[in-house]
């Protein structure tokens, strides 16, 4: 137990150190921006990983909650006069409520049926967002008022680097701790075998729902952060392809690995930026890299690499 506590603590310290040291290596504000995008994507992925990696349920519509968080902070201040910080909380609550209401019937489904149901939910939310243009600006998107906290106007890529970095640290801390709570253990039990979990007294339906709600809130907060950071939001953030991107981050990094989600986000966000030098070959290479890494590291980057290191250390 002590070792585990240390390992968790160590993970946090290393992450904090990385966030603190990285700016020393950044030559321009563009790098701060890309890094902030990584932190935001990682935050959403860590939440989704609680649902997918820990509780073993798939969601192919998770960008819906990302979109709800993003549009909450866009619509709240613009149309309803709600302060930005309150809109962020309202977005998170809305996401949680939607996940709770829809989760109950949806999470009874298994495997591919669950995948298509969550996909349907995602499509519906994205469709509402891009159609109700009076509220959301439609397919063109809408501007987002800057976040103001106690008179401090949060703006600029440097500031947002630190804000999103701090958010990621908190999100990581919660996810790491959750893994060691009775709830986290219940998640893993129903991941391994729902029937076995039920037999030993785990309320399967309730814990699945909990994981879904937690994942939704993570995505919503990440969405809000991105909207504030960009000062602009469009329906793509809630769309199917963004859902797929989030799932890819989780699986590429490693199902069930919190660090994996951060690494996955770093790879999948920075890779397209790096590949732009290849111009038209960008998508070709991105697809190729995804295929090759999933073939050779089928458990995800972080679990595969750490297994490799362990084997090296033993021999």
């Amino acid at each position: 137990m002590g070792a585990l506590l240390n390992q968790r603590f160590l993970t946090l310290v290393v992450l904090a150190a990385v966030i603190a040291v990285l700016p020393l290596l950044f030559p321009s504000s563009y790098y701060f921006r890309v890094a902030s995008l990584v932190w935001v994507a990682a935050l959403a992925a860590i939440g989704l990983n609680i649902l997918m990696g820990q509780a073993g349920q798939v969601s192919l519509g998770h960008a819906a909650f990302f979109g709800i968080g993003a549009y909450a902070v866009a619509i709240g201040p613009t149309h309803l006069g709600i302060p930005s910080w309150a809109a962020l909380l309202i977005g998170a609550v809305l996401s949680a409520v939607l996940a709770y209401l829809v989760g109950r019937p949806i999470l009874r489904l298994k495997g591919h049926y669950l995948a298509i149901a969550t996909l349907g939910l995602g499509v519906l939310v994205a469709l509402v967002i891009s159609t109700e243009s009076g509220w959301t600006g439609g397919p063109d998107g809408m501007p987002v008022e800057r976040l103001t906290l106690f008179g401090w106007r949060v703006s600029g890529s440097y500031t947002w680097y630190w804000v999103t970095g701090a958010l990621l640290l908190i999100g990581t801390w919660i996810a790491l701790n959750l893994d060691e709570t009775p709830t986290g253990r219940a998640f893993r039990a129903l991941h391994d075998s729902e029937v076995a979990a039920q037999v030993v007294g785990v309320d399967v339906a309730r814990f699945k729902l909990q994981a879904f709600v937690i994942a939704a809130v993570y995505a919503s907060l990440a969405g809000s952060a991105l909207a504030f950071m960009n000062g602009f939001i469009n329906p793509d953030q809630a769309g199917f392809l963004h859902s797929v991107e989030l799932v890819t981050i989780v699986v590429l990094g490693g199902l069930g690995s919190v660090v994996g989600s951060i690494v996955g986000a770093a790879v999948l966000i920075t890779l397209p930026q790096a590949l732009t030098v290849f111009h038209e070959y960008e998508h070709l290479l991105l697809g190729l890299i995804i295929i090759v890494s999933m073939i050779f590291m089928r458990n995800g980057i972080v679990p595969s690499l750490s297994a490799l290191l362990l084997r090296r250390a033993r021999s």
């Binding site: 049926y113 995948a115 298509i116 149901a117 499509v123 519906l124 699986v251 995804i290």
Partner: protein, 290 residues
């Protein structure tokens, strides 16, 4: 009545394309357990290769044949280079691999061809045919007829040839199929090739109506997957019915309720169907073994 008929026929036409995509999904899923998200790219390839082959001077039937062969080769390569090496990986890992493949194929199409929208001439003229007041494009009949031919041919193949029965046996139980001497790797390759051909046919048939570009596959894969789930994953008949139903839902929803929310009706109905029947309309009820 004319209006109703109009929606009915346009719904069936779109539904036929969804049905073909769903059929491709089902074929691969049954043989290998893989949900192939690159299925829509086969449709895209069918349309795009035909467009460029006929622009290069090939007559339409030859261009269509070239497109089908090209799609089959890509399908076989997908199986050989991406799916086969990852044998034994978890379902979600395999899904990510096919998503990677779909990104790759889209990128490839954007380079080899271009990013413009392209149109094929309708096979037999563009003059609408009047049926009880509804104006129907002749190409709709090509789509419906082509789909019927594919479905019947597939049915005949699966039920009346040894190879087809081997496919069914593999779908029923891969290990048992291997025990009775079926080379399941060949069957899987066959499924990928066949499914690519079906996708390409769908692309060729529908391009005169809907246009095509390198990017059309994503939405089609999504709809095809939805159709397959609506019918019950793994059931070829369910895939066809699911596809037609999805097309009809969209057409009637767009016609009578709201065209901006046409995709919403389809997915709302899917959600409600799954709430009521968690295995789809024709899916086998799975009894969990402990």
């Amino acid at each position: 009545m004319a209006e109703f008929l109009q929606f009915l026929i346009s719904g069936l036409t779109v539904g036929a394309v969804y049905a073909l995509v769903a059929l491709g999904f089902t074929l691969i899923y049954n043989a290998s357990g893989v949900v192939n998200f690159a299925q829509g790219e086969f449709v895209m390839l069918g349309g795009m290769v035909t467009v460029f082959a006929s622009a290069a001077g090939a007559p339409l039937p030859l261009a269509a044949l070239i497109a089908i062969v090209a799609a089959v080769i890509i399908g076989l390569l997908l199986h050989r280079l991406a799916i086969e090496p990852a044998r034994g990986a978890s379902a979600v890992t395999l899904i990510i691999i096919t998503i990677g493949a779909s990104i790759l194929l889209r990128g490839l199409a954007a380079i080899v061809f271009d990013k413009q929208f392209h149109k094929l001439p309708a096979f037999t003229g563009e003059t609408p045919i009047d049926i009880l007041g509804a104006a129907v494009q002749p190409q709709s009949f090509w789509v419906l007829g082509g789909t019927a031919v594919v479905v019947v041919a597939l049915y005949a193949f699966l039920e009346h040839t040894i190879l087809g029965k081997a496919v069914l046996a593999t779908a029923a139980n891969r290990l048992a199929a291997r025990l009775v001497g079926i080379n399941t790797t060949t069957i899987m390759a066959l499924a990928f090739g066949g499914s690519a051909a079906i996708g390409a046919v769908a692309g060729i048939l529908v391009t005169p109506i809907t246009l095509t570009n390198y990017d059309v596959g994503t939405l089609l894969a999504l709809k095809g997957f939805a159709a397959a789930m609506l019918g019950g994953m793994g059931n070829p008949l369910g895939a066809v019915v699911g596809g037609l139903l999805l097309g009809l839902l969209e057409a009637f929803g767009a016609g009578y309720l709201s065209s901006t929310y046409k995709d919403a009706f389809a997915f709302l109905v899917i959600l409600f169907v799954l709430f009521a029947a968690p295995q789809g309309l024709f899916g086998r009820r799975v009894v969990e073994r402990v």
